[in-house]
Symmetry: C3
Subunit: 349 residues, 3 copies
């Protein structure tokens, strides 16, 4: 897809800028693709959002760069807009739409449920009895969609996705390969001999509209009530969502995060990679959790919360982190020093 | 399934209690399902195990609540038993049995091994040459069960499970989707040029009876000897079990835990979410490891072990955690203060 | 496979040693398999590389042990070599070669791409349009190899691997089950209402030669440029590699590691289990990162870096780790003590 710069600006707004000699006929500049500043070639559209990368403007080969303010050392065309990254996202999404769904079920697919004529089911996929695949939805190769599942319109399951019985996925979701939705939650009662009695997990997973779920993420069904993923939630890869968790609208969670059972996360939160949330917590709206944070208590005030530990060169780490075992003793020593010093001060006056 | 309260008590024991006006005919109360206290409706059976949720008794709509002692502000029927959660588990398991296996191989399944007439193999699954599927076992859709594998009686593999050649799974196991059993362990010798020479991984994974394995968990085959998962072990989702690990009977491990190679874990241990165990460790019986703990040394005494780090509001974290790099210097300062103060004290007497 | 000791030494070098009475005819000793020292039986070849296991020599039943120096309490045959583990790896690889690929596509496989006559495709696998499977490559059962993918010669995909469209895997790679290559990276721009606009992920994953990827690992495609895994890289299980990451030659990464977007890792690095790397970092060549380390800054000097936290018996942890919230206050107290003490010292002189 090749488009004229004028067409982009007509569609998405913004102001074309550049050196006077380039502005004549600038609207006819052909954009063939998008690329990062550093790797862009002639014909590419790039963007500058983070001032940290401003120095790349002097050497970029991009034909046009989306940015918020003019830059002295940049000599080619710009689109000036207040939010370059958001603008870039819109242009990129328009230039690279998802491939259209080609309706129909592959001859090797086993379809025992109800697939809309406008939906597609890929090679060797299985759609169980009572399942319903809505219009425009696409089930990838080797997917397993169990009995009674409902997949909303225009939702895409890439290859090798598994959805357990009776789970519900809304419209326009994107579910990546290796995702497992609706496995049993981890619930047992302990017998007196130490063995474990399984609690049947009879809830479902219910996923809203416009949700994306990254490769290898697992979301367990509820024990009795449902596990809930609200509209617009974005989950990265290899996230573990335990039974009866609820994730609020437009919350975004990065890779390798784990969320233990029954924890409720508010709307518009962001959780960075490898954070781990204990069970039965309440996290309010608009909370940001930093990477690698172990969240063991509820959070009831919006803000940013952090618990990651700095790393050190190994020998330096040995000296410092061994002291973690002696922090209580150190605090005691300080208190005793304070007492002894106060005594001396009293005497000396 | 709808059951009378009297039938539950006849089968599982316990004492029916309640306000005098409800006790007449209480045994005929119909129980239609199980539910959490907070979400229960009329006809539901709920339970109170954790005193933290006692306040929910005053508003629950449950028809009957399993509990250990009477509660003032609760006005409906109870079953009094010493261990409400265990009792609930038994009733729930009885009311919600797993769906029976319908014997037979789906016409799209590729069965090259030996499947008992009382077992089932799902759509597009593959059972390799020399594999043996015992009576009552169920292999889900799109599963891959490689050559020489043995799957014990009444064991269930949900869809999309992979078992590598020659691995063994006992009876009554439940293996969830996305699980990979028997992949190669991570073993290499380093060549002088920095490249890695693969050590063939010729051991197996051998799994006992009554084991449950959660979605996305991976268990590597042994390098030379076998990786062993003993009877009654329960593994949650996205756990990584490296080669030659041994996990003792009735040990339960929560999600996102990693266990490095050759570590041996005792019986009846519990390991909470996201704990990470280094390799070649010995963890004795009855050890509890808390969430997010990095276990880098063997543990030879039963008890609870913890290493998780508290989180803080971000600006507070910045001030405090930066000091982790200076703990050694702080300890030095304290020692010097003690020496100087002792000197002063000596002088002042 | 049974081999004479003399044949091993003729092929791989080393010196046969042992008690005088065993040396006659030692070269004719038959080796039937490899085993760890502790579990070896007569006919097995074992090795001693880590001095920690030296005590096992006195009781091992192995017929021959590879080691670097003679041991007093060992009474059977040895192969003396400078690097026992590397030598063992070579012998083991020779005695246990991978099963040869049997060329051909299973009748249930859906092959829409181009499969070399010397390659194989397993049961119920799918190879999409425009994909190319080179000579000697093997695609396991239930794999999904999407449109335009290229799989190099002699590369093996075990069952249930997913490769998204247009990704490239080099020669002699080993890709384990549950791996997902080429899923969309986690990229969104935030709208003013808090919702997320997806950035199309139009880069690929490009993987070099001689790479091994463990079960359940996920590697996302690049946003605009490609995600790159260079020759000889070894990845363990359940690793998450985000978009636009680059991993240098012969770097080895253990299980449960996460690498956030655009981070570049040098050559010959080792990253131990559960380490987490933030995004947009540069890690230079020959860096070793210890287990459980959160790497939040770039590293530009070769060496070993560590950030793991020690664990404690729980009551001891409670006392010590609670102080992490007061480190700043402790440092303040120490500074004030130093000032007050200096004042007293001044007075007392």
């Amino acid at each position: 897809m090749s488009v004229r710069l004028a067409e982009i600006v007509a569609r998405f707004g913004g102001t074309i800028g550049g050196p006077a000699d380039l502005l004549v006929g600038a609207g006819d500049t052909l954009i063939n693709g998008i690329a990062p500043l550093e790797q862009a070639r002639s014909g590419d559209l790039a963007f500058l959002a983070n001032p940290k990368y401003r120095h790349q403007l002097s050497t970029t080969q991009a034909s046009v760069v989306i940015m918020s303010t003019p830059a002295d050392d940049y000599r080619a065309l710009s689109i000036f807009v207040p939010q370059p990254y958001l603008y870039f996202a819109r242009v990129a999404a328009w230039m690279h739409p998802m491939a259209p769904v080609v309706p129909g079920c592959h001859s090797s697919a086993i379809v025992e449920g109800d697939v809309d004529a406008g939906a597609s089911v890929g090679a060797n996929a299985w759609v169980g009895r009572g399942a319903r695949i809505e219009k425009g939805a696409a089930i990838g190769a080797n997917c397993s969609v169990a009995e009674g599942v409902c997949i909303g319109s225009d939702t895409r399951l890439f290859a090798n996705v598994t959805v357990y019985a009776n789970c519900v996925i809304g419209a326009r979701a994107i579910i990546h390969s290796g995702v497992v939705i609706g496995g049993d939650g981890f619930g047992y009662a302990r017998e007196s001999d130490g063995s474990w009695l399984k609690i049947p997990q009879v809830g479902r997973v219910v996923i809203g509209d416009d949700v994306e779920i990254g490769a290898g993420t697992t979301i367990d069904r509820g024990a009795m009530a449902d596990t809930l993923i609200e509209d617009g939630v974005k989950l990265d890869n290899q996230i573990q969502v335990a039974h009866n968790v609820r994730i609020g609208e437009h919350t975004a969670i990065a890779g390798c995060v784990g969320i233990a059972g029954s924890t409720v996360i508010g709307k518009r939160c962001t959780i960075a990679g490898a954070a781990m949330l204990a069970g039965h917590l309440q996290i309010c709206d608009d909370v940001n959790i930093s990477a690698g944070t172990l969240v063991a208590k509820s959070i009831n005030r919006a803000g940013t919360y952090t618990g990651g530990v700095p790393f050190l060169e190994h020998s330096n780490w040995l000296k410092n982190f061994s002291k973690l075992r002696h922090l209580d003793a150190m605090a005691d020593k300080i208190r005793i020093l304070e007492q002894r010093l106060a005594e001396l001060e009293r005497k000396s006056t």
